[in-house]
């Protein structure tokens, strides 16, 4: 199922500032105001338009804004127009309008690009500036007086960016490139059958569910006492009931007991994992009410007992090796194993485990590096500062059979 294209009533959307440096999730409800940074805004101006649209905040309402129709030109100009700043002095008297004057202009219904034009007309030095300087001046004035936001739909890309900027430590510094690498290396797709341990707010769980698109099974092995509600996972508000049905949880602390009971329980029939229709036996209604004395993890338990998991993503703040060892019996041969840790000390021990384990091949340890650039025709350069420098370590390998090994 594709992601939504039209901004609709009731949606939870993401507002991004014009410089893409500030993010704010909000809910769209006709008649209700939301606080976006320093503005109180009614959101109905956005409903019915496409995601990706830009809006200018005028007063307390949102008006559609077309960035390609800017009155004051933002043309890419050739450098070398002969102007530079050698004679320009930086004094307050360069601008004839005071802050109060500009506020009066705003209240007199002069808005948008006309306001910017008026401010420029009040500047003594604007025409003497070089083209580069003019564009920088325009950008600053627009950022200050023309609050433009972009509204995006929640999806892995934007949620990852947003959470990384708001609270990177809560998501274990899972930057979008690192998270994407985990998803690709684990071959996450519609119909996947995966184990996940996620100590980073549910970022990995949400991303995997989005890529599974409502098909397949994801068993999350949780390391806390119970499954807590997680704000990061809840922000994946675009996931439907079909997506959530793929997810079941099981406490990690009961996993070894399950392995033991499996080896002693000869009556348990294991489905042939070579058959094409592996998933028909595992459909459990999400709305089924389970009786109180029944194991609340029954769905996950049944899935684990039938084994045949096609991979694991272990994104953990704990020591990974014991967790991985406990999970290996449930994972089929020729399946990817992914381990993600924030600290090199944790990944180091796991890397050694991979190297000494005959059941793991194609081992690779890496850390993703990403750089953002300012794209332009004549001013192309990397961003001057980056607040996305930190991410963790990815260890990958493929599980294979060993002589003494009997995977489920």
């Amino acid at each position: 199922m594709s992601l939504p294209s039209v901004i609709s009533e009731g949606d939870t959307a993401l507002a991004f500032s014009a410089d893409q440096k500030r993010y704010h999730p909000f809910q769209l409800r006709a008649g209700k105001s939301v606080r976006l940074w320093k503005y109180n805004v009614k959101t109905e101006g956005a409903i019915g338009h496409y995601y990706g649209s830009k809006f200018v905040i005028r007063g307390s309402s949102l008006e559609l804004f077309d960035p390609n129709k800017q009155a004051v030109g933002f043309e890419e100009q050739l450098p070398g127009d002969g102007k530079d700043n050698r004679n320009l002095l930086d004094t307050a008297s360069n601008q004839k309008f005071s802050a109060e004057d500009i506020q009066d202009l705003k209240e007199s219904d002069l808005a948008g690009e006309q306001l910017i034009s008026e401010i420029i007309s009040g500047s003594n030095t604007f025409t003497d500036k070089s083209e580069f300087s003019k564009q920088k001046y325009l950008s600053r004035k627009r950022a200050k007086h023309l609050p433009v936001i972009s509204i995006y739909r929640p999806c892995l890309r934007h949620l990852s960016l947003m959470h990384y900027h708001l609270h990177p430590e809560k998501i274990g510094f899972l930057r979008v490139d690192t998270l994407s690498l985990l998803l690709s290396l684990a071959n996450v797709r519609y119909g996947s059958r995966l184990l996940v341990v996620d100590n980073f707010g549910g970022m990995v769980v949400g991303a995997v569910l989005e890529r599974m698109g409502g098909g397949g099974r994801l068993v999350e092995l949780f390391t806390t006492e119970i499954v807590h509600p997680r704000p990061v996972l809840s922000s994946f508000s675009h996931l439907t009931a079909l997506h959530w049905e793929c997810l079941s949880a099981f406490p990690l602390r009961r996993l070894t007991k399950l392995t033991e009971s499996l080896h002693t329980d000869t009556a348990t029939q294991l489905p042939d994992i070579g058959s094409e229709d592996t998933d028909t036996t595992h459909t459990v209604s999400a709305t089924e009410v389970e009786p109180k004395n029944k194991d609340r993890y029954v769905t996950a338990r049944e899935l684990l007992l039938s084994g045949g998991f096609e991979g694991i993503i272990l994104a953990t703040k704990h020591t990974p090796v014991p967790i991985l060892e406990a999970c290996l019996p449930f994972i089929s041969p020729s399946s990817p194993l992914l381990v993600y840790c924030v600290f090199s000390e944790l990944i180091s021990a796991c890397s050694q485990y991979f190297h000494s384990n005959k059941s793991i091949v194609l081992k690779n340890l890496s850390s993703s590096w990403m750089r953002e650039y300012q794209p332009a025709e004549f001013k192309l350069h990397p961003e001057m500062t980056s607040s996305s420098c930190r991410t963790g370590y990815v260890l990958s390998g493929i599980r294979v059979k060993d002589f003494n090994d009997t995977p489920l």
Partner: protein, 283 residues
């Protein structure tokens, strides 16, 4: 590599990725065929019925290879190169930045050796679609054969076409476009018509800064917004052990014992540039 579950045993016509210390090698199982290598002769017929994730042996039984189930990532590492290809770090970021999910319709040019194409097909399956174009007739034919062998025939439409000259021939068809061309600015003006009404994304991969500069001008000229540019690399690491001895700070002090430390360090050599990724929105 389609969205059906992993198989457990090797059958005729399967694509199998063989792995040993020399690297990865992909085969399509054909009982009359064999892999001839300096480590031995591996008969395809010997592999039939063997388990994925298990070992297959040379005909003299002296050497073995691991038989792995194909995935787009393993395919990228083992496919026959007809062109320079994209590797998993870039492919995975492209998948996320284009916002691909099951059901997305995507257009790509050039197809090249089909590395990214396989990954896209995996992500948009089973209800999405990939339209992929290349102007080189023989490469298109090889790609089509591979898509068919890998069970992707329904998901992928692969055509020989000069998209810079003729556009994609698609109208109101896709929500994501990917360009990996030497001169993407020539095709950018053909892109808007291929998009469905609403929110769409385009990405372009270019090794050189000059290509990015020209692409930016073209993109702004046709109404694309939110132009972002990234570079993504995978720093390869290893765990290295080191014996640390203590320097003597005083003339007659006792020698302190060495300690052993384990450290995660970068490998000495790595790819340091692949290309720049431009990412834009079209509404």
């Amino acid at each position: 590599m389609n969205s059906k579950g992993y198989k457990s045993k090797i059958k005729v016509d399967d694509t199998v990725i063989l792995s040993d210390q020399d690297g990865l090698h992909s085969i399509t199982v054909d009982p009359g065929n064999a892999v001839n290598s300096r480590s031995g002769v591996f008969l395809h017929s010997d592999m039939l019925g063997k388990e994925y994730g298990g070992r297959v042996w040379s005909n003299k039984g002296r050497t073995y290879r691991w038989a792995l189930h194909p995935t787009p990532e393993l395919w990228t590492l083992s496919l026959p190169h007809r062109t320079q290809i994209l590797y998993t770090p870039n492919i995975s970021l492209i998948t996320s930045l284009l916002e691909l999910v099951p059901g997305t319709s995507v257009c790509e040019s050039g197809t090249g050796s089909g590395s990214l194409s396989h990954a896209i097909a995996r992500t948009v399956a089973p209800t999405g679609h990939l339209y992929t174009y290349d102007f080189h007739a023989e490469r298109v034919q090889q790609a089509k054969t591979e898509f068919s062998t890998h069970g992707l025939g329904e998901l992928v439409t692969c055509e020989c076409r000069d998209v810079c000259r003729d556009g994609f021939g698609l109208e109101d068809a896709v929500t994501a476009i990917f360009l990996d061309l030497p001169n993407p600015w020539e095709v950018i003006l053909h892109c808007p018509i291929s998009f469905k009404p609403g929110y769409n994304r385009l990405m372009s991969f270019s090794p050189c800064v000059e290509q990015i500069q020209k692409s930016c001008v073209a993109l702004r000229g046709v109404g694309f917004t939110d132009i972002q540019m990234h570079e993504c690399l995978s720093q390869q690491l290893q765990v290295s052990s080191c014996r640390v001895s203590e320097a003597r700070l005083e003339e007659n002090s006792a020698r302190r014992e060495d300690t052993e430390i384990l450290s995660v360090v970068p490998k000495l050599s790595m790819p340091s540039h692949t290309g720049y990724l431009l990412s834009v929105v079209f509404v």
